[in-house]
């Protein structure tokens, strides 16, 4: 159901626009692009490969966004802790601790 991995399009077959040579960490295989007819990839694009067919284009932008979100995990928390230390909130009627 689920084994699909990223590969980079090296070249589209000159005699068949639905067939491309794809590189997966230096292993090469012909992959069928028939499921991506609506949004044809070009050489240099990355696609998700499952049973020899390209299922989807991989968005580098979305991947970077995700990494950025993850990097910020914990940073948001750290920033919140810092702000709490400024004593801007009052809890239970008593003063919050100052930093």
């Amino acid at each position: 159901m689920c084994l699909a991995i990223p590969g980079k399009i090296i070249e589209i077959s000159p005699d068949n626009p639905d067939s491309a040579l794809v590189d997966v960490v230096s292993v090469r295989r012909r992959v069928d692009l028939g499921l991506l007819q609506d949004d044809r990839p070009k050489p240099g694009d990355w696609v998700l490969i499952h049973v020899g067919f390209a299922m989807s284009k991989i968005s580098e932008q979305d991947a970077n966004d995700q990494m950025q979100t993850l990097r910020m995990l914990g940073e948001t928390e750290a920033a919140l802790q810092e702000v709490k230390g400024y004593g801007l909130e009052e809890e239970n009627g008593s003063e919050a601790a100052s930093s």
């Binding site: 699909a4 049973v51 020899g52 299922m55 580098e60 995700q66 995990l73 914990g74």
Partner: protein, 376 residues
Amino acid sequence: MKFVDEFRAPELITRTSEEIRRLVDPARHYRFMEVCGGHTHAIYRFGLKDLLPDNVELIHGPGCPVCVLPMGRIDDGLALSQQDNVIFAAFGDMMRVPGTHGSPLEYKARGMDVRIVYSPSDALKLARANPDKHVMFFAIGFETTAPSTALTLMRARAEGIRNFSVFCNHVTIIPAIRAILDSPDMRLDAFIGPGHVSTVIGCRPYEWIAKEERKPIVISGFEPLDMLQSIVMLLRQLQTREAKVENQYKRVVPWEGNRAALKAMAEVFQLRPYFEWRGLGFISQSALRIRDAYAEWDSERRFDVPGVRVTDPKAAQCGEVLKGVLKPHQCKLFGRECTPEHPIGALMVSSEGSCAAYYNYEHRKTAAATMLSQTA
């Protein structure tokens, strides 16, 4: 490896696990089901359970297309191929699955022409290369794989390749999730949704889970960071008492799915009125059959299918493990009569079956975690 290694970055994994610990309510026990067998495999392969707090429990769902196939269908496929000049072609996953009289590999040892293919298009290639034989492709998989089978059938018809047919066992994921939610034994808080199926069907088909059943569902990728981030997203929803469909696997899953893939499926397949799922019984509208226009490439119409129903051995608890009601080691046959070497059911054979995953990756882990800190 690009788009793989980044999602295994140790510091980010640590950071995400810490976020999970921050988000959990210590008074609560969370039960998240990962539907897809690929996620089950990833959990064990990456040791993700070691990174989660004890009160977050991952329950394995029925999203393993090999595991849910009743033995009778395997017998049928093998029976069809026993005729002269038939080549039985299937993915590697099928090769060790036991039928009543043996697995495809065992049939091969007894002289049947059995070939492992990586792609349905490779099976079609076999047909082109062997014009005096008939190639029967034993198709399995959820909606991730069905479009590729569909395209292959379209190509076979367009090229007039007559010595090729497909024995279709494609199943669909939504009815399986419904069956889980309808099951009285299950109590689940949220779902980790199948990332690769969703590249085809998109995220809309899951909306009823959030709206009607009020359970959060996050469509997840398969790398450690993907799954951990998905758990963060589920915990946040539960914390704020939301229930919605979220897409964690944005870099690959389009919200609307893959129209070309859905179109190919609609052209070649239609839903069977009902289909038997191992462990879940008969489920309506849950599996695909080949349309009349492609009847000539449908193994079930080219050949006579015995269609014998084979019930699982009474002692085997495949059904309960598939539904997540039992953990693999709680099945009475686990590790005794049923092991990867002599499997009783497909969950012990398929690499994403929970029993095989548990057996191969887990069951002898004892005080390993503490020992690790003592090694250099």
